[in-house]
Structure formats: C-alpha cells, structure tokens
C-alpha cells in the first residue's frame, strides 16, 4: 500500500487536498474519530501540527522529548507565567506523552452538566457502553503490578489516615514498568492513539499530514468551505512560504482545549454565546515534595498507579475539591519545579532519589469563583491563556498543601517541602501545618502547574450557553464538529483521556447517522 503519511515540511509548493472528512488534531479526540470515520467508509485526512515520531525516536530523555513532543517545548505558561502547562504536540497528541491514567467521567460531574448545561448522559445517551468500547480498544485495565515507591507512599499515607484510594486503570499492553511514559513509550506498550487508532485508520486509507498548522477555517453563511494551513518549521513555528488548502464535506476540530478555540478565534466563526475560548479549565495543581530515608526512585516504574479521591467532592460545596496523585520524577521536571537557587537547590537535587512527590489537582469549574480562563491570540495568531486564580481557589490549594503534607508524614516522610517559594523543609506535621497556614497564596509565589486543559468550546443544549451541542456539533456552522477536551463544560475531577475517548466515540456514531446519506452519494 502507498504511504499514507505526508510530512508537510517536505512540501515544496502550494498544495490542495480534498476528503470527505478532515480532522484537525490527532490526540485523544482526533485519533478516535479517525478510526471510527475511516471504518465507516469515509475518506479521512488527519492533520497534526507536531511530527510523526514513533517508538524508535523515543530515547527516554527529557532534553529530546520536551521540545519535540510538547507544546512550546513543555514550557507553555499562562499569560502571567503563573501556571505551567504540559500538553502534547505530536502525532497522538497528549496520549503519546501522558501518564496512562484512564478514569471514567465521575457521575457527579455528569450530574452537574445536566443541571447547568442540560446535557443528559443517561438512557439512550449513556456513556457507559462507550467507556467499555474504549477500554477494550485501548486495553484499559487496573494496573496489576505493585505500585512504585512514589505511588506506594500515597497509598500508605491514605491507609494510615483512613483516606480513600484506588488503583489506577492504565491503557497499556505489555508494559515493562519503565516509568518514561511522559517521553513517549519506547516499546509501544502504551495504547496511545499513535499506536492504536491512527495506524488502524491509515491502514484503512486515511491520510496523515504531520507538521501542518491549520490557520483558518473559511466559512460563509452556516457552512465551512475550506481551510488554510501552513507547514511548520524545524521548531514547529508556522511558516509563511507555502500554503495548503483543504476542502472537505465535514470539518472536525480536535486541536486541544487551547488549540481548538484558537483556530476558531482566528477564523472568526459565529460566537453568539460569547463562550468561545472562555471557561478554559486546567485542574490547577499544587505540589508537595517529601524526603524519605529510603530510596524512592520516582523516575522508575509506572508513573501513576494510585490516586485518592478523599477530597475531590467535599460535603461543603463552598470548598474546592482536589484529587491526589503523584507525578513521575525526572531531572528536568524536578529541577525546574524545586524551589530556591544555588546551594539550597543543589542540596535538594542531591537527594533526588529520596524525593517523593504528591500533586493535588483542583476540580475547577463547579463554583461561581471558579469560572476558568480565556484563550486569546497574540500578534502571530498563536494562543495565550489567561487564568485568574480566585481566593476560593487559593484556599483550596492551601488545604491541598496541608492534606499532602499530612499524608506524606503519615507515610513516614522525614521532611516535607511544599512547592511554594516561601516554604522550606519542615520536620513534622505540626510544624508543616503551622507554616502552610501562613504561606502567602499568590501567583508566582505558590507554584501551580497543569497537565489537563479542558473547555473553551463547551457543549450545551442551549446555544446561548455553549459553542457546540451535546454531540459536539457546532451550534451555528452545520458542517463543523469539535471533538476534543475543549467541549467539556467544566473540568472533570479526573484525568481526562477516557472521557474524551468515550464522548468522541459516541459523537462519531451520532455524526455517522447524519452523514450516511451523503456517504452513499459520494461513494
């Protein structure tokens, strides 16, 4: 079979392409859609701004992985630089670099969507069969291997305190427990879009165009007529010397919760709800380090295998909920997040292997004081995210720092270091508690990070309260769908990939029932 991959950066002249369906973005949303729609007999073009790297390229080194596989070299930040954002930019999107945690959408989140946005995911719209399909397709199962020490400390702390915890379901098959999921799986064990749905779609005739940045959807009335794109250069910056135009019958935007709103903003699509690029959620995350007497070696073993939902749905609705997990620990990730300079920083780094780290992901979007951020465009038309942090959220982060310190001491930590620029190593839980209650909760003093970007093109039954409908169809443009995390109307309170897989799988089935007639005509 002829090759189904085109690297746009190798094109030497302007080009035009045509297909039944063009999908912009190859992550959790675009990857699922590519397989579903190709299987149904449509001609599909799958476009990706990142490069088509595969397992032979994944050398398990941060210095290669971050610039090559992540948005903005893994140094993406909110406008005020207060929140660092890890987001994939490669074939497979964030599924190529995520830590494999696969959690069904929490029922309480779906209930909230029904109340606030009229979205009913029960009865005929139940997502359960789609969770099951995605779990089967991507080999999502509880991790049956013992957790690495970094995760085991989370479990032990929960056990000591009587807190809830769960073993994580992971999308892996033949995992060697290496711990380098964040740099691309070198053995194709992670069942990312890169190794599952995308090759399947390509085998059925879909064409992948990598290193291509879509700049604009051209539309008139209620219909998109074409899109304009350019190749990216060696550093993934959009070029201006060659223009690519693509025509399709249906357009699926799946460029992620920053990229998708940015493309629609550049295209100036109708936006009567005013919600395009608004209500962007991040699961804003705070970090707590702990030094143990024994080696933790947080770089080794499945990065995430235990989580705790003890605090994610507090009874007091005026308190911010947060989910407890751990991150993998690698030298660059640690060095850039650990606080201090000079000898202080070097001394912490010297204890790299004894360091255990917890993270608390705040469930944002469920409170009047948690309405998310907004995406706008810079002079190059590239997205910038503003994300204000309110007092309500700061309070939740302070409580999260307290919970993590308590847990780490309960698990046997010798010292705990909240990752805050005014904090230091504390020797006991009472000492840490007193100190954390005094920390100034302010931007650029309290370190905040995110690995989950959601919202910005939210779904709603009511066109006045959303950009797309419950099936991901744009409320105003009839041949446009948005199939990625940007359609989520709040954050999830859980890692998002499985929610996106299931929602998009379902949305594809809905779309197929509506597209079938023209399929019969064209083929």
């Amino acid at each position: 079979m002829a090759t189904q991959h085109i690297d746009a950066s190798t094109l030497l002249s302007d080009q035009q392409f045509e297909a039944d369906i063009v999908i912009i973005g190859s992550g959790a949303g675009g990857g699922i859609a590519a397989e579903q729609l190709t299987e149904a007999g449509f001609s599909v073009l799958l476009l990706e701004e990142g490069a088509y790297y595969t397992r032979a390229d994944f050398v398990m080194e941060e210095r290669w992985a971050y610039p090559q596989l992540y948005q903005e070299g893994a140094a993406r930040k909110t406008r005020d630089k207060a929140i660092g954002i890890l987001q994939g930019r490669t074939v497979g999107g964030s599924t190529t670099v995520n830590w494999t945690t696969s959690i069904r959408t929490p029922p309480a989140t779906l209930d909230y969507w029904q109340r606030e946005f009229g979205l009913n995911f029960s009865g005929d719209n139940d997502l359960t069969p789609y969770f099951a399909k995605a779990e089967q397709r991507l080999h999502i199962q509880p991790w049956s291997v013992a957790p690495n020490a970094n995760n085991a400390k989370l479990q032990q702390g929960c056990e000591a305190l009587g807190w809830q915890y769960s073993v994580i379901n992971r999308n892996v098959n033949g995992c060697a427990n290496l711990g380098y999921c964040g740099m691309g799986c070198p053995i194709n064990a992670k069942q990312s879009m890169l190794v599952s749905t995308i090759p399947a779609a390509m085998a059925l005739g879909a064409t992948l165009i990598s290193r291509l940045s879509v700049r604009k959807l051209n539309w008139q009335g209620n219909s998109i007529s074409s899109l304009d794109a350019v190749p990216v250069d060696h550093y993934f910056q959009p070029r201006s010397d060659i223009r690519i135009q693509i025509k399709a019958k249906h357009y699926i935007v799946a460029a992620g919760a920053i990229g998708s709103p940015a493309l629609l903003l550049r295209s100036k699509v109708p936006n009567p709800s005013g919600r395009l690029g608004k209500h962007t959620y991040l699961h804003p995350t705070v970090i707590s380090g702990a030094l143990f007497a024994e080696d933790i070696n947080g770089h080794s073993g499945a990065p995430q295998s235990i989580y705790s939902d003890q605090f994610v749905w507090p009874e007091n609705q005026d308190k911010a909920g947060y989910k407890l997990e751990v991150p993998p620990l690698h030298p660059v990730l640690m060095a850039t997040k650990l606080t201090g300079t000079g000898e202080q920083h070097a001394a912490l780094m010297a204890q790299f292997n004894q360091l255990q780290v917890c993270i608390a992901l705040q469930r944002d979007g469920f409170h009047p004081q948690s309405q998310g951020g907004s995406v706008s465009l810079d002079e190059q038309g590239q997205p910038v995210l503003d994300y204000p942090i309110t007092d309500y959220m700061w309070q939740g982060m302070r409580e999260a720092l307290l919970s993590m310190a308590q847990l780490q001491f309960a698990a046997g930590a010798r010292q705990v270091l909240p990752i805050h620029h005014d904090a230091k190593l504390y020797n006991s839980w009472p000492e840490a508690k007193t100190a954390i209650l005094q920390l100034p909760m302010q931007t650029l003093r309290q370190t905040v990070v995110s690995a989950h970007v959601m919202g910005g093109c939210n779904m709603s039954i009511n066109p006045a309260k959303g950009v797309v409908d419950q099936n991901g169809r744009h409320h105003q443009l009839h041949n446009l769908s948005v199939f990625d995390g940007s359609i989520l109307p709040t954050s999830l309170g859980a890692n998002p990939q499985l929610t996106i897989f299931a929602l998009v799988w379902r949305n594809c089935q809905q779309l197929l029932t509506q597209l079938k007639p023209f399929s019969a005509n064209v083929s």
Binding site: R63, G73, A75, Y180, Y235, T336, A346, A347, E379, Q380
Partner: protein, 167 residues
Amino acid sequence: MQRRQFILSGIALAATASLGAGLSIWGWQQSQTADDSNRSVVLSALLPALLYGALPEDATLAVAELERTKTAIDDFLPFLPLRQQRELHQLFNLLANRITQLGLTGHLSSLSALTMQQRFALLDRWRDSYLGVLQQAYHGLRELLYGAYYGQPEHWQPISYIAPRFR
C-alpha cells in the same frame, strides 16, 4: 498594552523608579531582537550563581558544564513561541546593557563584575520584587537555566540518577 512591550514597560518602570524618569529614550525599542553576545554575557553571569553547589569544584569541568548548558539553552530557545523568545531577548539585552544595570541590579557595574553574593541578592530581589515582571523574569530564567543544566546526562552523577539504557 502591546504584548511584546510587557517586559519593556515593566523594566522601564523598575529603572525609572530607581533612577528617575527619562530612561525610556535610551534605545529600548531596539532591544527585542536576538543578540548572541548579550545572551552569552548574561548567562555567563547568572549560571554560576544559580548552579552554585551543583557545578563541580574543578574549574575546567565547571567551565565545560557551563558551556554545555549555554549550548542547550541556545538549542532550546527556538522552540518557544516567538512572543516568549522576544521577551527573553529583551531581558538578555537589557541585562547586558550597562545603562540598565542600576535599575535591575542596584549596581552600576556589569553583571559579570558582581560578586557571587551580589548575584544571589539580585536573583532574590527579582523573586521578591513587587513588580510582576521581575518575578516573571526570575521564574522564567530559573526554569530555562535549570532545565538546560539538568537535561544533560553528563550532569546527573551528583544526583545519582541513572538513565535506563534500553537499546
């Protein structure tokens, strides 16, 4: 405010607060383009302070590590959004420019002439500045420089990190 002027105006504000008004005519507008020698001067001054305690005591080895880190920074910068690259170029250019020294460092001498203690004090002053823009400079440089240093396998021995050799 134009996005690309944000560092500019913030630092101009810092400078005028220290020196009195009127500095804005000193060629600020030209300072957004990359100048390799300015970047090199600034990195050579700041890296030894930031990495104090991490660099080997042997001077030859330390110089090799610093050079390797500077190369890694140069290699990484083009992956940042152009907006952010401009901000960094501007910061490097301002820091290398003697006329801005007093506003930014509190000393009217070149960065490289500062003692190590003065360089630590400079970093702390940015971190604790009431100006968001100086805090951003502190955090931006800190992450960039530490990321570049600890990304190099040659620098992992002191942290006892052994990268897997998978193939």
